[in-house]
Amino acid sequence: MSTSNHDEYYIPEPSKWPLVGTIALTTTVIGAVNTIHAGELSMILPVGLLLVAYLFFGWFSAVIDESMAGQYNAQVDRSFRIGMLWFIFSEVMFFAAFFGALFYARVFAMEWLGGASNNASTHEYLWPAFEAVWPVLTNPDNSLFVAPEEKMGAWGLPAWNTAVLLTSSVTVTIAHHALRAGHRKPLIIWLAATVALGVIFLILQVEEYAHAYSEMGLTLDSGIYGSTFFMLTGFHGFHVTMGTTMLLVMLIRSMKGHFTADKHFAFEAVAWYWHFVDVVWLGLFIFVYWL
């Protein structure tokens, strides 16, 4: 493979997918708001979601066909890589907003509510009973936000989940090595193992949520601890779901004989994404569960 392919440029044909994408997303968000406002499912939402599914399926199929037809040169491949890397960076910044909220709430807001710095009178007059201890198990106003009973420990399920995700990062790397060496069978086996680990993670996560809701009183509306807990782990879980789905597609494509030892950008992109999801989890494990 040449590293540079400058004397030939590739421009894709006009495509309907961007427009489908716009209609799909706009419909979905309108449906989502209508559902929230009505308190019951607005039919616009499922229509939008179906369009989103159609979008992903159709657009990716088109790209795969073009790629299999050998239309993409090395330059296009590089553009895809740059695009994926910076997309992941933008995802990092999305999580950074929620981590930022967690740190701010723990380091500043909670201490100030407890009277730290020059906030003694705020504390005294507003919520004198509030104690600044993380996790917040008595909210400033417990009549508005019912606080959870206990902290989610780190060394039960979450520790297992850490092991599961770390292992899956290893298995996907082994699969990648197999692909690069041109060994189809180990590729499929290790990729399947990765998908399985992703699914196990999600099952354990659902288990944990059920436990939090039914036994611990730890809910989305149980004050700042619940808010940050579910926002961070929830968005992470959503990303794991996306990642697992993408890995599954890679698995199916591998079984169909797609990818060659030196041309498999889609696989690598998904692997990067998976590592990113893994790193975010480490942050969660340390700052949400453990410390």
Partner: protein
């Protein structure tokens, strides 16, 4: 079907036709054109809202609108101008110019490019629909200011806030995809020999702006997501009763917001850095210092956000840190102004419309920079904050800065885009009427601001009456002058002007984009040019 463009193989005339050309476009010029027209349309909508505000403020007392509706006007005016005018116009200019300037046939990811554009009509359709419904008496449009502070937007926000939240999400997706595309194009599509330090400054400024965008748009997405859950799902991020903090909203918002204001000025810096050397017929003074100054401004923009929050309540160490960090930005900004002036020094200058706008930019943006420096002095800001002085500051940097930069760029490149020279007389009329009226509009705001007139209030006390009347007259004049601009652009685009443009267009123009014929071919460079 393969669309590989081979060497010596002319695809120039393979233009798709009909509405499909625009809906399904993968062409950087067509997409750039759509961005620019979208921005122009939004400019007139946002401008109309501004005129409602100025009509109400023409004299003290309540004349035309209810205070509640006035709030919706200031909110939507700000949102539309920031997200619907300045940002799309810049992306449109990047689409048109970056591939031509670096010797590429198109953007790196043309389909994603089209998606970035088409998300905008969706996002603004939702936002403007909420305004139309408000006018028809069906609930309120967003009314909490373009900064949508909690709890105004959470506890007290109208129902339309949830639509607003998702509209911001769509704008964010659009911006992120747009910037990824620009980064991939610049990193991957440069012609052989076009090293980073040979890139035109406009390309550099957009390169850095794109990084700012991917770093902060996701944070904005996070902020509105927390708003959404606070409003609808019982979280308490911005509610102290549950252990959160409304001030935290401001930190997160301004962590996005301050880099955002530089997102809205850096590409204009780039445009000015192209125009001044052309009409001074000299190379830009201090090319590399321009690049480093842009990079330092971008870096510093991440550590100054709380200068918007001096009066909110922060530990003294924080107040001091953010004051000094903000002052530091004046240094690289000063480097840029110095370089523009030095480029003109002893140049053989001519004053065509783009150059006039560029010079006005340098003067008037600098005034805005100086008022910024006044505002960043913490104890002084306790007086200035939330007064019309702040409004004057950011309109000098945004209207006579960002927007004048865009207008300068449009006049500068229009001949390249259309193959026709614009009408220079009309251009000069547009310039002189704009530059006079814009000062009548915004300069008096400094005085009423220093005297204590609060912003975002539909009424004011009597001693502010004269200056406000003046500003309102300026506003209507400025608004109507823009029709000259519109007319001139349409006239040029339709080829109704007498003079055809040459490839080089301007005598002093240098760079790859001027080696192409005017109008530029559909696919800019089908074979890579060699850059020495």
């Amino acid at each position: 079907m393969s669309a590989v463009i081979e060497e010596h193989h002319d695809h120039h005339d393979h233009k798709p036709t009909g509405i499909g050309r625009w809906l399904f476009s993968t062409n950087h010029k067509d997409i750039g054109t759509m961005y620019l027209w979208f921005s122009f349309l939004m400019f007139f909508i946002g401008g109309t809202l501004a005129l409602v505000i100025r009509a109400e403020l023409f004299e003290p007392g309540l004349q035309f609108v209810e205070p509640e509706f006035f709030n919706q006007m200031t909110t939507l005016h700000g949102l539309i101008m920031v997200f619907g005018v300045i940002m799309p116009a810049f992306v449109g200019l990047a689409n048109w110019m970056v591939p031509m300037m670096i010797g590429a046939p198109d953007m790196a990811l043309p389909r994603m490019n089209n998606w970035s554009f088409w998300l905008l009509p969706g996002a603004f359709g939702i936002l403007i629909a909420s305004l139309i419904m408000s006018i028809m008496g069906m609930g309120s449009a967003p009314n909490f200011g373009w900064t949508f502070y909690a709890p105004l937007s959470t506890t007290y926000g109208p129902a339309s806030t949830d639509y607003f939240i998702f509209s911001v999400h769509l704008m964010g997706i659009s911006s992120i995809m747009g910037s990824i595309n620009i980064i991939a194009t610049i990193m991957n599509m440069r012609a052989p020999g076009m090293t980073y330090m040979k890139m035109p400054i406009f390309v550099w400024t957009w390169f850095i702006t794109a990084y700012l965008l991917i770093a902060v748009m996701p944070v904005l997405a996070g902020a509105v997501t927390m708003m959404l859950t606070d409003r609808n799902f019982g979280t308490s991020f911005f509610n102290a009763a549950g252990g959160g903090d409304p001030v935290m909203f401001q930190h997160i918002f301004w962590f996005f917001g301050h880099p955002e204001v530089y997102i809205m000025i850096l590409p204009s810096f780039g445009i000015i850095s192209e125009i001044v050397p052309t009409f001074a017929r000299k190379k830009i003074f201090g090319y590399s210092s321009m690049v480093y100054a842009t990079a330092s401004i971008a870096f510093l923009s991440f550590i100054v956000w709380a200068h918007h929050m001096f009066t909110t309540g922060m530990p003294v160490a924080g107040e001091l840190f953010f004051m000094y960090a903000t002052m530091l930005i004046a240094v690289p900004t000063g480097v840029k102004v110095f370089n523009w002036v030095s480029t003109m020094w002893k140049g053989s200058m001519t004053f065509e419309t783009p150059m006039l706008f560029a010079i006005a930019f340098i003067f008037l943006f600098t005034i805005g920079g100086f008022t910024g420096l006044m505002l960043c002095i913490t104890p002084a800001d306790f007086q200035y904050h939330d007064t019309y002085f702040v409004v004057a500051h950011f309109h000098y940097v945004l209207v006579t800065g960002a927007a004048f930069g865009i207008m300068a760029g449009v006049y500068f490149w229009l001949p390249k885009w259309t193959g026709n020279m614009y009408d220079e007389t009309l251009g000069k009329w547009h310039f002189w009427t704009s530059v006079i009226s814009v000062n009548v509009l915004f300069f008096p705001m400094h005085f009423v601001g220093l005297a204590g007139m609060p912003r975002r209030i539909p009424d004011y006390s009597l001693q502010f009456a004269e200056f406000n009347a003046m500003a309102s007259v300026g506003a209507f004049a400025f608004g109507f002058c823009q029709l000259i601009f519109l007319y001139n652009v349409i006239k040029t685009a339709r080829g109704k002007t007498s003079v055809k443009a040459t490839g080089q267009v301007w005598e002093g123009a240098h760079g790859l984009e001027w080696t192409l014929p005017s109008p530029a071919p559909f696919h800019s460079f089908t074979t890579p040019p060699q850059v020495k």
